[in-house]
């Protein structure tokens, strides 16, 4: 197990390790089955060629998959130390077409010393595509034991 994260060791401005993920159609199908969101805008390349929900003739990553990868930044960082998400909110800025490679990251923005076991931090989250354009932003509050 890695060294344990504690509230006392966290500082505003701490950068969390990033997550990088390439997106294939197989990845999308796998997430569709895991989430049970089998909407054709993600799953059917044939349907997307003509319907163009996002104005492009390709399937796109589930918004919920983008959010799941944003929260992976948190779970990688804090969950092995007993951390848990308290709140999460995120905005999806642009679609992530199949074939994209995105990087997900975060930075501690607030410390909330409440009491031992209830202390929490806020983390600003972001996702960039391979061109450096933001595809999503978010904020999570994370309880740190």
């Amino acid at each position: 197990m890695e060294s344990k994260l504690t509230f006392e060791t966290i500082k505003c401005g701490d950068k969390l390790p990033t997550v990088k993920q390439h997106l294939s159609q197989e990845d999308i199908w796998h997430f569709a089955v895991g989430s049970l969101d089998m909407n054709p805008v993600h799953c059917s390349p044939d349907w997307c060629r003509t319907s163009q929900v996002f104005g492009i003739p390709e399937t796109v990553q589930h918004g919920q998959m983008t959010l799941s990868l944003l929260t992976k930044v948190i779970t990688n960082w804090a969950y092995s130390s007993g951390g848990m998400m308290k709140t999460f909110e995120a905005k999806l800025i642009k679609p992530v077409p199949v074939g994209s490679t995105c990087t997900y990251g975060g930075e501690v923005s607030e410390l909330h010393p409440v009491k031992k076991g209830k202390d929490f931090v806020a983390v600003e989250l972001w996702a960039l595509d391979q061109d450096g354009e933001k595809v999503a932003v978010g904020k999570a509050q994370v309880t740190i034991p």
Binding site: W29, A32, V33, L36, V41, W47, S51, K91
Partner: protein, 193 residues
């Protein structure tokens, strides 16, 4: 390409095998609730329940993909301070799609042409293996912005003891009417903006 056959290669759980997969089936479109029909303030207690099995939690985490052992290894998760394998923060996605597959109130999330602009989740109590979850659903808000038709629902998820597990404000941009959805069903673009 038959995408439903391609997806079937990934089924591992009982719920995945029993789920109604075809979001383009014309028969299911008749059961959907459309943006122009949504009544703000309408509440439903969804009659079916979601019994949380380890295979459900593991299948979601694997699909993210996230190989952190806290999602798979009970002993490791306990060593990390959790009380069993952990539910991924977005596991609520699987819960809602499973519970809302029957049509009627809340069926917008199966709408061909729906878009996801962002979400808000508040966590109150961890989801654990063995929980039997129920969903109280409220049509919370709908609005028009830059020609797009938004709707927001509040999902409150409870366990079998009445403990509130989470509150989830889910937002979607939807085709406005059934006629717009039927255009999508034929593979045509059906959004006004």
């Amino acid at each position: 390409m038959d995408y439903l056959q391609e997806m079937a290669k990934y089924y591992t759980t009982q719920k995945q095998k029993e789920f109604y997969h075809d979001f383009l089936d014309p028969k299911q479109i008749d059961g959907l609730e459309f943006w122009d029909e949504i009544q703000i303030g309408e509440e439903s207690e969804i009659p079916i329940k979601f019994e949380v099995k380890a295979e459900d939690l593991k299948a979601f985490a694997a699909s993210v993909p996230d190989d952190n052992p806290i999602f798979y290894d009970e002993e490791y998760a306990r060593q990390c301070g959790h009380d069993g394998i952990v539910a991924h923060p977005l596991f609520v996605t699987q819960i809602r799609f499973f519970l809302l597959q029957g049509g009627g109130h809340g069926s917008w999330n199966r709408t061909p042409g729906a878009r996801n602009p962002g979400q808000i989740i508040e966590y109150y109590d961890p989801i654990r293996v063995g929980d039997i979850l129920t969903l109280k659903l409220t049509s919370y808000d709908k609005w028009i912005k830059r020609g797009k038709y938004y709707m927001r629902a509040l999902s409150q998820i409870y366990d079998q003891y009445g403990n509130l597990k989470m509150r989830y404000f889910s937002t979607l941009i939807l085709p406005r009417t059934k006629a717009d959805v039927l255009r999508f069903l034929k593979g045509e673009h059906g959004l006004e903006a």
